[in-house]
């Protein structure tokens, strides 16, 4: 961790008594973009620390040295001093130049344009989940994005409803997802791993439940993932519970909102063609296991306030839900 500021973390840990890890720490950058903003923040931090120490010291010294004592004569009225005024106008101005120059340099360096051969990912914010489209690869998925390590990635961000902000702190600063407008960020992840993030702009009832994961894969793993995502949905084995689940899916309201390639064309909710391959559900707030899936299907708004995935009418039977869960889990 060459640029990790151990002092800062140590301070945080000392007060918190907590050892981390900090999966969304902006202080542990893992991409060129995040490193650039982090380096700039470090610069600014030290300037701020310097000013802080000087000014607070002056303040404390003044308070101690000139505190009231019996018999102290009435102070000489001192109305001002032109040279001093000029000095302490110029001093902050000079410091600000030292902040402004690297700021502008970093603004242009992180303006969001990746090389033409970069992997293109379109991010679309929804209340309250993320849709990812890889236009050149023909892949559509939700909440979990995969990118290859060491390759430039061009992310284009927009929204389907209200304003959100796409934010995976260790890979890059947030950009708003604004309806009717495209924002771009570009980054090159430098180590393999899972990087969590979440929506940064208040977007309604479940803003807190709009989390995301970016998985940085080694090249081969990324290739495998793309190949798997491009394949059609797995066909459930004849006579299996999953096959019954597919039947339930096809006769219930699910298909109005969700896409499963070749089965249903809905576009309101996340694409479920490979839902079984994802590690979380419901905007990244629950692990993708049978228990949570079953609860989610039965009563989504109870798990996620404001969710537009309403309770099914008439309600599905427990058997139907179990079958549905088996079907969704089979969609690897």
């Amino acid at each position: 961790m060459p640029r990790t500021r151990l002092w800062l973390l140590t301070a945080a840990l000392a007060v918190s008594g907590c050892a981390g890890p900090f999966p969304q720490s902006t202080l542990q950058p893992r991409s060129d973009f995040a490193r650039a903003t982090d380096a700039l923040f470090t610069d600014i931090f030290w300037w701020a620390a310097l000013v802080f120490v000087i000014v607070e010291t002056l303040l404390v010294v003044a308070l101690v040295r000139f505190r009231h004592r019996e018999g102290r004569p009435v102070p000489k009225p001192m109305h001002g001093h032109t040279l001093m005024e000029i000095a302490w106008t110029l001093a902050p101005a000079v410091i600000l130049v030292f902040v402004a120059v690297p700021t502008v340099r970093t603004i242009f360096a992180t303006a969001g344009d990746a090389p033409a051969d970069a992997l293109k990912v379109d991010v679309i914010g929804h209340q309250w989940w993320w849709e990812y489209r890889y236009p050149e690869l023909g892949v559509v998925t939700a909440n979990e994005a995969h990118v290859p390590v060491g390759k430039p990635v061009q992310v284009t961000i927009t929204s389907a409803d209200v304003i959100h902000a796409f934010w995976a702190p260790r890979l890059g600063g947030k950009r708003d997802a604004i309806p009717g407008r495209e924002n771009r960020i570009a980054f090159r992840a430098d180590s393999v791993g899972d990087y969590s993030g979440q929506c940064g702009e208040f977007c309604g009832a479940s803003h807190a439940n709009m989390r995301l994961l970016v998985r940085v894969d080694a090249d081969s793993a990324f290739e495998r993932w793309v190949a798997a995502q491009r394949a059609g949905p797995a066909a459930p084995a004849a006579g299996s519970l999953a096959e019954q689940g597919k039947a339930v899916y096809s006769r219930s309201a699910c298909l109005g909102c969700h896409t499963i390639q070749g089965v249903s064309p809905g576009v309101i909710g996340p694409n479920l063609t490979h839902v079984g391959s994802r590690s979380t559900i419901a905007g990244g707030i629950f692990p993708n296991d049978s228990a949570h899936l079953a609860q989610w299907i039965a009563d989504a708004p109870a798990l996620k306030p404001g969710s537009i995935m309403t309770r099914m009418k008439p309600p599905l039977t427990d058997a139907d839900i179990a079958a549905l869960v088996a079907y969704l889990q089979s969609l690897q």
Binding site: L8, A11, A12, V15, S16, G17, C18, P21, F22, P23, S25, L27, T37, F41, A48, F52, V55, A62, L63, F66, R67, P73, P75, K76, P77, M78, H79, M84, T89, P92, A93, L96, V99, T103, T106, I107, F108, A111, G112, Q127, V162, I163, G172, G173, K174, R175, D176, I178, P179, R181, G197, G200, E201, F202, C203, G204, A205, H207, A208, N209
Partner: protein
């Protein structure tokens, strides 16, 4: 000539001192409400996956906490000092338009009540819950606040309440501009005005220019919500970003509306307790004016994440950093005022110094927001929450408490207890730092703001618990203050005209002042009229009894009646009942007509 008594005398009062007290108690009440909201928020966040309140209630709580603190607590607390102190500092008998002043107060009170009524009126809207309080954030970003995404009455309460409150601020703005410019005592040149009065004047100019902008933004939102227009809808070719531009065009100057009065208070308190004139008075005044102007050129730094492009980002980064210069200049002048003084550690001085010490932290974290790339990581995280609270709590509220301890004897005739005051100060200082300093880390470690729940995986659980403990410590500090106030009412030491040895005119008259303020209007010959300087001795205080009878105008019902018309008009869109708007307009017009043709003289 004796003080009128009874409820009627308060309802019809046009005396700036009584209106100042009304402002104070109303605003302090709202301050407590906003504080309670904050404590519930902190309770919810004390643990990950908290279940104290629901997501919906949490969103209402943080929206109302922000809205209440900005519009119902800090601005009107400052207004209570504008009302009470400014006429005394300039040697006037009242403000320029006493009935307009009463109107401002009643509009403020009714607007605040309208906004807070949303906590209890859910059943009237068949909402299924008791509380239908605003839930779109104090910044109310479109298009989340459009009818499509916020169908309930929540946002309606917010936009109508703010619209009403804006009228109060605007009316007070015109009033105080004229008061300060036109009602100064003979010899009180502009560069002899006390610094608090100067900063008040700058604040009023910002108010009358910034509030029309949010008025327009709110009108657009209102038309979108009620009449099917598309001001913030991209489907029709518009953009929700228009809201952000208009809101922050108002919103950033609003920050200076909140901080400049506190800077003025500090600039008056420090000289009194260091027995030394304010260092660099003209520089402090001009930097205040400069801040007022420059505050208009920085609004887009709230919008770096929307992607305005590198050139716009660079321009707004530069203008924002520039504003740090006049702010820094003020801080250095305050320290230079203390330097070489004979500093008496009164509670008021404690708070004034606390203001400087805490405001620096808020200012310095502000510099990292001024830098767009750094801001991209920090915006909408707890780092910003830390920043805003160091500025508005560490800054404005510390400054306002300095003013309370400083002017309390003038306003009530009794001195607050100093030992209790110091307990209050230290509890509040420690509490606020426990509450807000960890938020810097919480934000940098990746916790966004405005979330009702967070995952234990983030690693910020303990930091959040510390913050919650700090918030409750602040609550205890405020309780100590309230106890001090109650105790002082009955047992407080009686205040002389001038318990502190102040330099400005308010200390030359009894505490509390008689209804006519000055028995004889003083003639001022220098900036520190009550101190002796190289060239001048202190001026004589006005005699205890006026040499000739002073005519004092009676009260008036009509400002209150006129003010009632505004929330009535707001009820029409809230309830979707057109005819109410005509009733409200009729009440407003009737009030204004009776007021305009009523015999009244100052």
């Amino acid at each position: 000539m004796s003080e009128p008594r009874g409820l009627k005398s308060w309802l019809t009062t046009t005396d700036h001192k009584r209106i100042g007290l009304l402002y104070f108690w109303t605003a302090f009440g709202f301050f407590l409400v906003g504080g309670l909201e904050a404590l519930v928020i902190r309770l919810q966040l004390a643990q990950p996956n908290g279940h104290v309140v629901s997501a919906e209630t949490y969103n209402q709580l943080f929206t109302m906490h922000g809205t209440t603190m900005v519009f119902l607590a800090l601005m009107p607390l400052a207004a209570s000092f504008f009302n009470y102190i400014v006429p005394l500092q300039i040697g006037a008998r009242d403000v320029a338009f006493p009935r307009l002043n009463a109107f401002s107060y009643w509009v403020f009170l009714l607007g605040g009540l309208l906004l807070n009524a949303s906590w209890f009126t859910g059943p009237l809207f068949h909402a299924g819950t008791l509380n239908v309080a605003p839930n779109g954030g104090w910044f109310g970003y479109a298009n989340l606040t459009e009818r499509q995404f916020s169908p309930g009455p929540n946002i309606d309460f917010w936009l109508l309440g703010l619209q009403v409150l804006g009228i109060s601020s605007l009316a007070a703005g015109f009033n105080f501009i004229v008061t300060i410019l036109n009602l100064r005592a003979p010899g009180m040149k502009m560069m002899r005005l006390p610094t608090f009065t100067w900063m008040t004047l700058v604040t009023q100019f910002i108010i009358i220019t910034a509030f029309p902008v949010i008025t327009v933004a709110l009108v657009f939102l209102m038309f979108d919500r009620f009449f099917g227009t598309h001001f913030y809808l991209q489907q029709a070719g518009g953009t929700p970003l228009l809201w952000q531009h208009l809101f922050w065009l108002f919103g950033h100057p609003e920050v200076y509306i909140l901080i400049l009065p506190a800077m003025g208070i500090v600039s008056d308190v420090l000289p009194t307790f260091s027995r030394k004139p304010l260092f660099g008075y003209p520089v402090v005044v001009y930097s205040g004016i400069l801040i007022g102007f420059m505050g208009w050129g920085v609004w887009s730094h709230h919008m770096f994440a929307v992607g305005l492009g590198p050139i716009a980002d660079s321009v707004f980064a530069a203008t924002t950093m520039l504003i740090a210069v006049p702010t820094g200049v003020k801080i250095f002048n305050w320290i230079a005022t203390l330097w070489g003084g004979d500093i008496r550690g009164t509670t008021a001085l404690h708070f004034a110094v606390g203001f400087i010490a805490m405001f620096i932290i808020g200012g310095l974290s502000g510099v990292s927001h001024a830098s767009p790339p750094a801001d991209l990581q920090q915006t909408d995280t707890y780092y910003v929450v830390a920043h805003i609270h160091y500025v508005l709590f560490g800054g404005t509220i510390m400054g306002l408490f300095a003013g309370m301890y400083y002017w309390w004897p003038k306003m009530t005739g009794r001195l607050l207890s100093e030992p209790l005051g110091k307990w209050h100060f230290w509890l509040q200082l420690v509490g606020m730092n426990l509450a807000f300093f960890p938020m810097h880390f919480i934000g940098l470690l990746g916790m966004p703001r405005r979330i009702y729940t967070y995952s234990p995986d983030l690693g910020v659980t303990d930091l959040n618990l510390i913050s919650t403990i700090g918030a409750f410590l602040v609550g205890v500090a405020i309780l100590v203050f309230l106890y001090n106030v109650l105790r002082t009412r009955r047992r407080g030491e009686r205040a002389s005209n001038d318990p502190w040895g102040g330099a400005t005119l308010e200390w030359s008259i009894p505490s509390p002042p008689p209804v006519y303020n000055f028995s004889v209007i003083p003639t001022v010959t220098n900036r520190l009229p009550r101190w002796s300087t190289d060239r001048h001795g202190p001026i004589q205080d006005p005699p205890a009894t006026p040499p000739a009878p002073i005519h004092v105008p009676g009260g008036s019902w009509w400002p209150m009646v006129a003010a009632l018309g505004l929330p009535l008009m707001a009820l029409a869109p809230l309830t979707h009942t057109l005819w109410i708007v005509f009733v409200g307009a009729a009440v407003l017009l009737f009030g204004i007509y009776r007021w305009a043709f009523e015999p009244f003289e100052v």
